[in-house]
């Protein structure tokens, strides 16, 4: 089956009001059912690009089209948010209702749905995100950070966007919480058919979950491709101060004995080691 193009970015230039050029000619295409990681050092333009993909920021030059809907056009906010959802880095910025139910219902209500539909969507989003109904009357700010993050994702999911952008989903979380959030996003990708875009600095997370990686530097796309191929070019990555995961670097250091420079996990390396040993014996 051919992948459907969901977002088209053409020659995107974005300057902040203080004149800082954040994006300088970005060209991209995002297709259905992709799991993408946006990586790059701080200030490389990742969050700005993500906000442009969601229509929160309007291009200074160039365009972003979501299902052929140009984000520069006025009055498109409600249409865009049903196609691309954006989960903010800090869930506290995104929670402004006094109960969890109202929080998840906020988006569908803004879309003008009737209460029955709103209720359906709240329950569906909460179920998918693992937010229990007994918490519906709780205040969001009394939850743990991991749960607040889930409520934030549920509140976006309730608008049923096909693409979900999550800004630094694992920041400030321990390993267990990080894996929980990432496995949950993988479920949304694999089982619910969403396109997931994550912004992260954690390369092991990228290696484990992302199919495709887009490396940004100084407001431009420096690398765009299958994660394994991107990590297989450490010299280019080094320019952006991005280091592949340790296991990948180890494999690259021993590539002369037959390890693949695109190794992404311990399991892969172990398998290659076994093959190398068998080949020698």
């Amino acid at each position: 089956m051919t992948a459907e193009r969901l977002i088209e970015v053409s020659n995107l230039v974005f300057e902040y009001p203080d004149g800082t050029p954040a994006l300088r000619g970005v060209n991209l295409e995002i297709f259905s059912n992709e799991f993408i990681a946006l990586i790059g050092q701080n200030g490389s333009g990742k969050t700005t690009l993500a906000k442009c993909l969601n229509g929160l920021l309007k291009p200074t030059q160039g365009y972003v089209k979501i299902d052929d809907l140009d984000t520069r056009e006025k009055g498109t906010t409600k249409k865009i948010v049903t196609k691309v959802g954006y989960v903010f880095q800090n869930p506290d910025h995104q929670l402004f209702n006094n109960t969890i139910y109202k929080e998840i219902a906020y988006g569908p209500r803004n879309l003008g749905l009737d209460e029955k539909q709103v209720n359906e969507r709240v329950h569906e989003a909460a179920r998918v995100c693992g937010v229990e109904e007994v918490l519906f009357n709780e205040h969001p700010f009394f939850l743990t950070k991991g749960l607040r993050q889930r409520v934030a994702i549920a509140s976006i999911l309730a608008m049923r966007p096909r693409t979900i952008i999550v800004d630094e989903p694992t920041t400030g979380q321990d390993l267990r919480q990080s894996l929980e959030v990432m496995n949950f996003l993988r479920d949304l990708w694999q089982n619910e058919g969403h396109t997931i875009i994550i912004i992260t600095h954690e390369m092991p997370i990228v290696a484990q979950y992302a199919q495709r990686s887009i490396v940004l530097g100084q407001g431009k796309v420096l690398m765009d491709g299958v994660t394994r191929e991107v990590f297989a070019q450490p010299e280019l990555l080094a320019q952006t101060f991005v280091k592949p995961p340790q296991i990948t670097r180890l494999a690259q250091a021993f590539s002369h004995v037959g390890f693949s420079p695109g190794t992404l996990s311990v399991e892969e390396m172990t398998e290659q080691y076994r093959e190398i040993c068998q080949g020698k014996s």
Binding site: K78, N97, S155, Q218, K220, E229, T240
Partner: protein, 301 residues
């Protein structure tokens, strides 16, 4: 195969504008020729002098002067339109109160319009007070639209204000900046969930501001706790001295020059301020009863 591009092809970004608490100013703005202390005096002068002036004519002229000053400083004046709802709301509130509760004085001049009785004196007093308030508001906006937190600190320090005051002032200014930044992000988050402010009534927009309070105050309280812990952990004391009685090194490294023009401008502002104060308190000049517009309106009765 992954698509690649050399980073060396990309030039480092150039900053054209400098971000201030309420806006942005071009890096090349002539305002940066003035010492921060001179700029601080514009706040003290333009933001406070109206307290002594009841005459709406002068206060309107002051507002015009502020706009000319901002224009000279190359500030994008169109950005000030965000304060329009505030100015309208204040006007509605003040005039409604004045019309509904004018006070009882048999000497008031009255007229009827649309079936409502209006009293000229309280109405004119509201009109004068409104423009006084606007002059003070725009006097303050001009300062925070053209200066950064650190410039205020440099200015206060150059006036030899005790460390403890600059210390609290810096915390307050930093908090104000972060508060505004949080508010911007929360508004973005609302838009990301389908909120279209352009199609909302004024009443619903007012309700929105009430909604902002929940995350804003929660974030502010959390941050206050974090900042106070951080300051404690780094040995900050209100005296500005370390435990070994040595002075803490300064984090503001920019050097600002105090020139003759700064002396002249500060002297002019201080003299004018004192003169206006003396004329108002000692001689009753600038009282609303001297307003030419009021005199003209009264002559119509």
């Amino acid at each position: 195969m992954a698509q690649t591009m050399e980073l060396s092809a990309a030039k480092p970004p150039l900053r054209k504008m400098r971000r201030t608490l309420l806006g942005t100013v071009p890096v090349q703005s002539p305002i940066y020729e003035l010492h921060p202390a001179t700029r601080l005096f514009t706040l003290l002068f333009l933001g406070v002098v109206s307290l002594f002036i009841d005459l709406p004519e002068i206060n309107i002229l002051l507002i015009i002067a502020i706009f000319i000053y901002l224009r000279w400083a190359k500030v994008d004046i169109s950005g000030l339109k965000i304060y329009l709802p505030l100015t309208v709301t204040v006007a509605i509130f003040m005039f409604t109160v004045s019309i509904a509760f004018p006070g009882a004085d048999p000497n008031f001049h009255s007229f009827r319009f649309l079936g409502i009785t209006f009293y000229l004196e309280p109405l004119y007093w509201t009109f004068a007070s409104y423009w006084r308030l606007m002059a003070m508001l725009f006097g303050t906006i001009q300062y925070f639209s053209t200066n950064r937190e650190r410039e205020t600190l440099v200015a206060v320090r150059s006036l030899k204000v005790p460390f403890v005051i600059t210390y609290f002032l810096s915390l307050a200014l930093r908090s104000a900046g972060m508060f505004l930044e949080d508010m911007r992000t929360i508004r973005e988050a609302e838009r990301a969930r389908g909120l279209d402010e352009t199609s909302m009534s004024l009443r619903d927009r007012a309700k929105l501001y009430a909604m902002y309070m929940i995350p804003l105050f929660t974030l502010a309280i959390r941050r206050t706790d974090e900042i106070s812990n951080a300051l404690y952990a780094r040995g900050y004391t209100p005296s500005g001295k370390l435990e070994n009685e040595k002075q803490r090194s300064d984090y503001i490294l920019t050097q600002y020059q105090f020139r003759r023009i700064d002396t002249i401008l500060i002297a002019a502002m201080v003299i004018t301020f004192v003169l206006v104060g003396v004329l108002r308190i000692g001689f009753g000049v600038f009282a609303v009863t001297q307003s030419p517009l009021r005199i003209f309106l009264l002559s119509l009765f």
